[in-house]
């Protein structure tokens, strides 16, 4: 059978990889995909605990996270399109107007 700790370990590996990509990637779209990867890692932890505790509420949480992620993807990609239209580039180094 599958031990809970191994599922949580997989979830942590995916979350750390997503965070690493968030830091090292320089393209807005790839950074956004790394955020999606982190969201999925958290979803996996929710599912694992729902399975471990025999509690359906965890799965409902994942349902809502997926809904919010869909809304976030729609708005985020629209922001990326607007950004590209205004700056003509997808590099996050070019988006530094708020830098001190």
């Amino acid at each position: 059978m599958i031990p809970l700790s191994h599922v949580l370990l997989l979830s942590m590996i995916l979350f750390t990889l997503g965070a690493a990509g968030f830091i090292i990637r320089r393209n807005v779209i790839t950074v956004f995909m790394c955020i999606e990867l982190m969201l999925n890692a958290v979803n996996l932890a929710f599912i694992a605990f729902a399975w471990h505790r025999v509690d359906l509420n965890g799965q409902l949480f994942v349902f809502f996270v997926i809904v919010v992620a869909a809304a976030e993807a729609a708005v985020g990609l629209a922001i990326i399109v607007a950004l590209y239209r205004n700056r003509g580039s997808l590099a996050i180094d070019d988006v530094d107007s708020m830098k001190l």
Binding site: L9, L17, M33, L44, H52, A74, A78, R85
Partner: protein, 163 residues
């Protein structure tokens, strides 16, 4: 069942590495689809068939199509190497290792190396999930419909020619 989980886990980790290490967004997007599909398989093994289907349809289907479409629309090629963020390059990897080690010790302390095995089976049929969704969670469910509506309107306004 255990073997299937480890196969899906290894596929997910390799594909996630590919997402992070590739410099071209299209390859990252395709690898992310592989990650999402193997996660759906793991959800199926962990007794969440409805969530697995939603994962395939909404995530791997709708959201990733949106990503690939935007990548094609904006003609996103190889990324340009970074000019700034020396701090992130120096402090980032050690902090991530610390982050991961912290999490791993937490799980190890709590559940041990080969933690608790599968408990009693969970009834997660679409019927059970739907009944819970439309009884205890009916207000959040309705709120999400407003959220989706606002998000769609916001996306249309943001992507218009004149902002």
């Amino acid at each position: 069942m255990g073997v299937l989980f480890y196969i899906a886990a290894v596929v997910a980790v390799i594909a996630a590495l590919n997402v992070v290490l590739r410099q071209t967004p299209v390859y990252s997007a395709l690898s992310l689809i592989v990650v999402l599909a193997s996660l759906a398989a793991i959800y199926l093994l962990l007794g969440a068939p409805l969530i697995a289907m939603i994962q395939v349809i909404v995530y791997a289907g709708a959201i990733m199509v949106l990503f690939v479409l935007v990548i094609m629309l904006l003609n996103a090629g190889r990324e340009t190497p970074s000019r700034g963020s020396r701090f992130a390059r120096w402090a980032g990897p050690p902090l991530l290792v610390v982050f991961f080690a912290e999490f791993a010790t937490l799980v190890w302390k709590q559940f041990g190396l080969a933690g608790p095995a599968a408990p009693a089976a969970l009834d997660a049929s679409p019927r059970a999930v739907g009944q819970l969704l439309f009884s205890s969670y009916v207000l959040p469910f309705e709120v999400t419909s407003i959220l989706i509506l606002v998000a769609v309107l916001g996306a249309v306004v943001l992507a218009k020619k004149q902002l």
